[in-house]
């Protein structure tokens, strides 16, 4: 092959080198274009799947809250028992609740802020309601939380 190439005229050799270079460049260009086209497609697919997931998640969360709210309306006693169990699991101090004039008021003491906020989130999932107000009263390191829900 090498001998065949060397026996060619200089012009023929240059033409062959040019042709091979163009073919190799073309192949490389095609492969690279294909790779970057696939990358672009995958980015679009990811964005689409992520957006779909977030949409479905938010809708499902709304659905879950709505169902929880309906459940609370129908079985408030059972739900309040579940909240008590939840309060036990969070080791809330002096947990109490009272229902007055279409308002549910939950009072508890917990010194750590972080678990207290987690408790509020779990509570919202259980009753499907967002608290209208949250009061944090502080005496030294003791924090007393009062959550008020409109029911």
């Amino acid at each position: 092959m090498k001998e065949f190439f060397n026996n060619l005229q200089s012009r023929e050799r240059n033409l062959i080198i040019l042709l091979v270079s163009i073919i190799v460049l073309g192949i490389l260009l095609s492969i690279t274009t294909n790779l970057y086209s696939n990358l672009k497609d995958s980015k679009l697919r990811l964005a689409s799947q992520k957006s779909d997931y977030n949409y479905v998640f938010n809708q499902a969360k709304g659905l879950s809250l709505d169902l929880a709210q309906k459940n609370f309306e129908l079985n408030s006693k059972d739900v309040l028992l579940q909240i008590e169990k939840l309060a036990d699991s969070y080791q809330l101090i002096n947990y109490s609740y009272q229902i007055n004039n279409s308002e549910l008021e939950i009072i508890y003491i917990l010194n750590d802020l972080e678990p207290s906020l987690l408790f509020i989130n779990d509570l919202v999932s259980l009753i499907g309601l967002i608290p209208g107000s949250i009061e944090v009263a502080r005496l030294n390191e003791i924090k007393r939380f009062t959550l008020t829900f409109s029911i």
Partner: protein
């Protein structure tokens, strides 16, 4: 700028003599083998290699301006069938215009020279050695090493060893009786033959200097065929450069491949999690084609209110207000406001607190405070900027 002028010590051997010049000034002279020249020459140099003229057939030709080089070569080959001793196909033919000249040289011989010179990575010029005399004076005779070099008006040339000189001179007298060369070296035989009226003794350094200035009008026999090794040497590409280039090219390929793979994996994960969400809502759902439309249909079937608030605005801000002197935080989720009750908060601390409110997406609405002994007490109303 380094310049190397390389001459063959003998027409039949590969031993050469290197003459080294820096910015036109003579530096050194070295004798070596042609295959070893790369040991002495840097890639940023210019090389002038002189092929013994006895190895080249130089033929005066007549050229029409419109005639292509290929046509001239074809005409030359048909005219000179008997003239060239070796197989014509084994020769490279160079056509030069002004002076109109054809140069024929054995392609393997030239290729071997080119290969050896390419190993230097330098800029290469290859010329018949009689051109060095031709530049000085078109008709001239020079002696270098073991041979006499003859140059003619038409840029033809030849070289002959001392042993064959008399025979060649006889031939010259017969064939070119009007040949009146300048004698560039002191030589009794030449003076005897051509007389002493045309003497122009000149040193090799001066010939090199003149040639370096005027060589561009002459045909360079070096063929710049593609050679990766030569290019690597020529552009002084070292292993680090090659490694960097390979790394860059690899990244160019690996980046889209890996990113595509990761994106597809994440996309599949989101897709699976979306399906799982549907299965949690209704385990009988087998296929999710258009998740948005499907979840909307489910929501519609449950007859839910469109505006279902999911976040407790401001709840995260409570963490930022966890200061002992803020004795009460009353967060009104519905209108995203909070009333802070302060008790003996240091005034500097209070100023700092007020200053960092915007950074925490909080806006001061109202303050009802009093400062006593550098301590601030009272109430502050803030709003959560959502």
């Amino acid at each position: 700028m380094n310049k190397y002028f390389i001459h063959s010590l003998s027409s039949n051997s590969d031993d050469v003599e290197l003459h080294h010049y820096v910015d036109g000034a003579y530096k050194s002279k070295k004798t070596t083998h042609l295959d070893s020249v790369s040991e002495f020459i840097d890639p940023d140099s210019d090389i002038f290699y002189f092929v013994p003229s006895s190895q080249i057939s130089s033929i005066k030709i007549s050229i029409n301006d419109e005639e292509s080089n290929e046509a001239i070569k074809a005409r030359l080959l048909s005219d000179l069938d008997d003239y060239i001793v070796s197989d014509i196909s084994q020769n490279d033919i160079f056509i030069n215009r002004n002076p109109d000249l054809a140069l024929l040289i054995n392609d393997k011989y030239l290729s071997d020279i080119s290969q050896s010179l390419k190993s230097t990575g330098a800029k290469i010029h290859v010329y018949p050695e009689h051109f060095i005399a031709y530049i000085r004076s078109k008709s001239s005779i020079l002696k270098l090493y073991d041979r006499y070099i003859f140059s003619f008006d038409s840029a033809e040339g030849f070289s002959e060893t001392e042993a064959g000189l008399n025979k060649y001179l006889d031939l010259l007298n017969k064939e070119r009786s009007d040949y009146e060369p300048r004698i560039l070296i002191e030589d009794k035989t030449l003076i005897k033959n051509f007389g002493d009226s045309n003497l122009d003794y000149v040193g090799l350094e001066e010939l090199h200097s003149g040639f370096a200035k005027e060589h561009l009008t002459l045909p360079n026999l070096f063929q710049t065929n593609f050679s990766l090794n030569y290019l690597i040497k020529r552009f002084q590409i070292n292993k680090l450069d090659i490694a960097l280039a390979i790394t860059a090219l690899s990244l160019l390929v690996i980046y889209p491949l890996s990113s595509t793979y990761i994106n597809n994996n994440y996309a599949n994960e989101y897709k699976n999690e979306t399906i799982n969400l549907f299965k949690k809502i209704n385990p009988n759902i087998k296929k999710v084609v258009n998740p948005r439309r499907q979840i909307d249909e489910i929501i519609k079937s449950y007859n839910l209110s469109e505006d279902n608030r999911l976040d407790i605005s401001g709840i995260e801000s409570i963490k930022r207000l966890d200061i002992p002197e803020i004795t009460k935080v009353n967060l009104n989720v519905d209108n995203s406001e909070a009333k802070l009750t302060l008790s003996k908060l240091g005034s500097a601390q209070y100023k700092f607190l007020i200053n960092i409110l915007p950074q925490s997406n909080l806006v001061l609405l109202n303050e009802d405070i009093e400062t006593k002994d550098g301590k601030v007490s009272g109430t502050v109303l803030i709003k959560f900027a959502i």
